[in-house]
């Protein structure tokens, strides 16, 4: 998983469609005063003697979102490191509810928090059910409500009639030169199950519509794990770029989409 690089301007500007902010300047929390991870606190809750804090990007848009969960014992403030943490995103559509892809929590020893990325399939109001279960039997769940704005996630109907969700993980703030480009691809088994798709060949083709050409020296994405595809994209100048993405099995293009990026 790659984190969005901090952008001072973005920190200062507030996006109109962005998340409901719950101000929290907890020194022991995920969000440190320097805000070096570009994360803001999405809320805290206390369940069964465990304090759950959720943090996410300041500008949360549809697509891959690197959420983080910190568990601490409410009484002592001691972090809980050996726990299973899951975050299940839910969206209420009125007549039904559906979930979205999420990845199992991975404890990051350096930061003392659990990385629990999710993929918001569309903009709107999402409820995040954060559950924990410790080895010594403690468990609990808290819910957090977040507003998700426009982002880089597209829903595709493949030529095999299956539904696929393609999300651009990086670069979200691209610059001139060669940099990693990363996607996640998920399918849908049911309203609650969105498994990662690991067998596609992903092809990218960056171009500048105004210039009528693309760029040389891109590296096609290769599957890493859990539906993540990582390659290299080369932006040769600032301006508006379009990255066409084709999901293929063999020579057959199953689905395709395009992402518009502004390179600064």
């Amino acid at each position: 998983m790659s984190l969005r690089k901090p952008n001072l301007k973005a920190v200062i500007l507030t996006c109109a469609l962005s998340v409901v902010l719950l101000a929290c300047s907890d020194e022991n929390g995920i969000v440190n005063p320097d805000n070096e991870l570009g994360l803001i606190s999405l809320g805290t809750s206390q369940v069964n003697g465990v304090r759950i804090e959720l943090a996410g990007p300041e500008q949360m848009g549809a697509g891959y979102s690197p959420l983080k969960v910190k568990l601490t014992e409410a009484a002592s403030g001691r972090p809980l490191s050996a726990a299973q943490v899951t975050v299940v995103p839910m969206m209420n559509m009125g007549d039904h509810s559906h979930s979205a892809p999420s990845e199992p929590g991975l404890y990051d020893v350096d930061t003392g928090v659990y990385d629990n990325p999710v993929v918001f399939l569309m903009p709107g109001t999402w409820v995040l059910e954060v559950s924990y279960a410790t080895n010594d039997g403690k468990e609990g769940m808290a819910t957090f409500t977040v507003d998700v704005g426009q982002g880089h996630c597209v829903t595709l109907i493949g030529d095999d009639e299956e539904r696929y969700f393609l999300s651009l993980v990086a670069p979200l703030d691209p610059s001139v030169g060669k940099q990693d480009i990363e996607f996640t691809v998920h399918g849908r088994e049911s309203m609650m199950s969105f498994p990662p798709i690991e067998d596609f060949t992903v092809e990218i083709e960056p171009s500048m519509p105004a210039m009528g050409h693309g760029s040389p020296d891109n590296e096609q994405p290769v599957h890493q794990s859990d539906g993540h595809y990582v390659g290299k994209v080369n932006f040769i100048m600032t301006g508006a770029w379009r990255v066409d993405v084709r999901l293929k099995r063999g020579e057959q293009v199953v689905a395709q989409a395009a992402f518009d990026l502004l390179v600064k």
Binding site: G177, K178, A210, N234, I236, M237, G239
Partner: protein, 730 residues
């Protein structure tokens, strides 16, 4: 009877005395040292002799004796006018040292030499003078700033210097070659050195062109000239003035010129839109003499604006250059270190181009946007020359260092409001340090053979400094490859054999290298209109290599001249553009490119006042890697001229015939064939008042529509052009 015999004897003795009185006695000496020269060849009509070990000679005068020709290997030949009467005392003939000539020098001085065979006296601009040099072709992108190409090697691979000083154009599209920053009145001569045989002034594979400027003269207190002129093909008008002031040990020379042209008209067609230009140029030099020393300070400044390049996507809104120098010469006539010359210089070139005059909505490449581009080069350097004179040899040592900084960028602003602006760097603050040392040794071996050995080493390093520029190039090459160092060794040797004192055969061989230019190494997103590709630099390029051989024969007797040269150039690591996907190419090496050809020039007196001149040149280029001809090779180019000269007036007829070029490249670039053509020119000059000269010429008399093979986008050449110039000396 006895009286008869006595009278006969007296007559005989008298006759012998008379015969003794018709001997010419003289001495041939070295002009610098005053020493007598042995085995110099002295000829007077049909009589000839050689000088003795002290330089003395005796020669019989003939009744019609006119010209005494004196020559010796290693020296400039001398011609002395003598009468038919005996002279008291000795004639002292001083010969100047000559370093083996490897250049074609085109005289371009203010005192136009109308006897010069190449009509360069009639050349008004630097490119037209360059074009008269055999083996040299000019690449046209507009009616301004033509770019030289020498024996099939184009301007970006040639070394073009001003008095040996390095100056670099700031436009990445070669719209401002070095010769565009000088004017005719700045120059004393052009030294065109073809091939890699002269390694003193720069790395050479195709050759070097040194624009030698005119220096302040100490001859007269005030001198100079003014000239105004007009050319009909583009309503071109110009004025230039030169003023020289000298007093005792201080001399100052200043020149100024202004020229302006409208759109030019090709043969039998309407004028080519957007081909106008205007510029001014000034140069000031001050020289101060001391005993044995001379100090020179000077500035050359050139500014041009609103220059149209119909063959390209952009026009130049402004081009500006400044070249400053401080020089010192130390002459020590009596010692082995005969002369030491040093020069410190600095130049700055700025170039702005844009497409504001173009209909960008109709443009195929990058439509609906304006893309102004700016380029800048700063160069600072030091050159030192030391000349050693031995008894029969000369040794020249050269040290040449320069530091170059170059920058160029491009903005792209769409006319559509929803498209954000775009920006990139074409040259992201590239900096180069280049240090070179050269040795040039000339030696007279026997009395008829001259040998020259020239060696050169180059050390250079360069890197790109702007972070955006580094990111752009690192995407392809990685950051670790951006900084580069080079070390190369080049050598050339030549042997010249004088036969009959009128002919010389010279064989030269050379092995040389050329560092990639900053554009080849670090250029980024440079559009080439010839093949429609965007070229990207390659910092990993190594130097180009060349092995060359040339055989030259020169014959000159009285007013007859003939010279023939054949050359063969084998290129390795030849730098070309290679496709890297879709519309992009990057510079890379190809191997086994070969260029060979010949040049021929001759001149004969038809009558006492009429000279016939003929020259022809041919180049053949082939890329073995791509199995096709090399691009931009000029076809067979021949000129015939007839020149009539009297002391106050003269006229000339010229015909130029250029063959078709069907040997074209389609992989390394996209060319098309060019048909053959012939043009005719008439020139005349008349000194109708003292010191005032009128020149009238009609070029392309038949108003032929044609284009040169080296014209970008087949831009046509001018049609019939009526030229007039009035030149006044004072």
């Amino acid at each position: 009877m006895k009286l008869f015999y006595l009278i006969c004897i007296l007559i005989l003795i008298g006759g012998l005395s008379f015969a003794e009185g018709r001997l010419l006695r003289g001495r041939v000496t070295d002009a610098e040292s005053g020493h007598g020269l042995v085995s110099a060849f002295i000829a007077l009509e049909k009589n000839a002799t050689t000088s003795d070990s002290l330089g003395f000679f005796t020669l019989e005068l003939s009744t019609q004796a006119r010209l005494l020709n004196v020559s010796l290997v290693g020296y400039e030949p001398a011609v002395v006018a003598v009468g038919s009467m005996p002279i008291d005392g000795l004639i002292d003939i001083r010969l100047q040292r000559r370093i083996m000539v490897v250049s074609d020098a085109v005289l371009i001085s203010a005192k136009r030499n109308y006897s010069d065979s190449q009509f360069s006296a009639y050349s008004e601009t630097v490119p037209t003078a360059l074009r008269t040099v055999k083996g040299l072709a000019m690449v046209r992108r507009g009616s301004f700033a033509e770019d030289p190409s020498l024996r099939g090697v184009d301007g970006s691979k040639l070394g073009v210097t001003i008095d040996g000083m390095k100056i670099f154009g700031a436009c990445t599209d070669r719209m401002d070659p070095v010769n565009s920053y000088v004017e005719r009145e700045n120059l004393a001569r052009l030294e065109v050195s073809k091939g890699a045989f002269d390694l003193n002034r720069g790395q050479a594979i195709g050759g070097t062109i040194n624009l030698v400027t005119d220096r302040p003269s100490f001859a007269r207190r005030i001198s100079g000239y003014s000239e105004v002129g007009y050319e009909s093909v583009a309503d071109y008008r110009y004025g230039r003035s030169v003023l020289n002031i000298a007093r005792d040990d201080l001399a100052l020379r200043g020149s100024f010129s202004f020229r302006q042209a409208d759109d030019f008209r090709p043969g039998r067609r309407a004028p080519i839109e957007n081909s106008a230009y205007a510029k001014y140029n000034f140069k000031v030099d001050v020289s101060k003499k001391y005993v044995g020393h001379q100090l020179d300070v000077g500035v050359l400044s050139d500014r041009a604006w609103d220059i149209g390049y119909p063959a390209l996507l952009m026009d130049t809104s402004k081009a500006r250059s400044h070249l400053y120098h401080v020089g010192h010469v130390w002459k020590r006539p009596q010692s082995a270190l005969h002369m030491l010359r040093t020069k410190l210089y600095f130049s700055r070139v700025d170039h702005w181009m844009d497409d504001m005059e173009r209909d960008v909505g109709q443009r195929e490449v990058m439509p609906d946007m304006h893309m102004p581009m700016y380029g800048q080069t700063h160069t600072g350097g030091l050159i030192a020359n030391a000349l050693f004179l031995g008894a029969d040899s000369t040794l020249e040592l050269v040290v040449d260092w320069y530091h170059l900084r170059s920058f160029a960028d491009m903005e792209m602003t769409s006319k559509l409001p929803e498209v954000p602006d775009m920006y990139l760097l074409n040259l992201g603050d590239v900096r180069r340090d280049h240090f070179a040392g050269a040795v040039n040794y000339n030696r007279a071996v026997f009395s008829t053979v001259e040998w020259r050995l020239n060696m050169r080493f180059d050390l250079a390093r360069h890197d790109i400094h702007d972070p955006l520029g580094r990111n752009q190039l690192a995407a392809t090459w990685g950051y670790g490859e951006l900084a580069q160092r080079y070390a190369t060794l080049s050598a050339s040797t030549a042997v010249a054999y004088m036969l009959n004192n009128a002919a010389e055969i010279r064989l030269s061989v050379a092995s040389s290298a050329r560092l990639p230019t900053q554009i080849e190494s670090y250029g980024f997103y440079l559009y080439n209109p010839t093949d429609g590709y965007f070229y990207m630099g390659n910092p990993t390029l190594r130097p180009e290599r060349s092995r060359q051989v040339e055989l030259a024969i020169r014959y000159g007797k009285e007013r007859r001249r003939l010279s023939v040269s054949c050359y063969y150039n084998q290129l390795g690591n030849y730098i070309v553009g290679v496709g890297s996907g879709s519309v992009f190419k990057h510079y890379d090496h190809s191997d086994r490119a070969v260029i060979y050809g010949f040049e021929l020039e001759g001149e004969w007196p038809v009558t006492e006042h009429v000279m016939l001149h003929l020259q022809t040149s041919y180049t053949h280029g082939h890329s073995a890697d791509f199995a096709e001809p090399l691009p931009a090779i000029a076809p067979l180019d021949s000129r015939i001229g007839l020149r009539y000269e009297r002391s106050q007036y003269g006229a000339a007829l010229g015909m130029r015939r250029v063959g078709e070029q069907t040997r074209i490249a389609s992989q390394t670039t996209l060319e098309d064939s060019t048909p053959a053509f012939a043009t005719y020119d008439i020139y005349a000059h008349w000194r109708f008042i003292e010191k005032t000269n009128l020149t009238i010429a009609v070029e392309n008399v038949a108003d032929r529509f044609y284009h040169e093979h080296l014209s970008i986008a087949n831009l046509p050449s001018p049609g019939r052009n009526v030229r007039m110039a009035l030149h006044r000396e004072f």
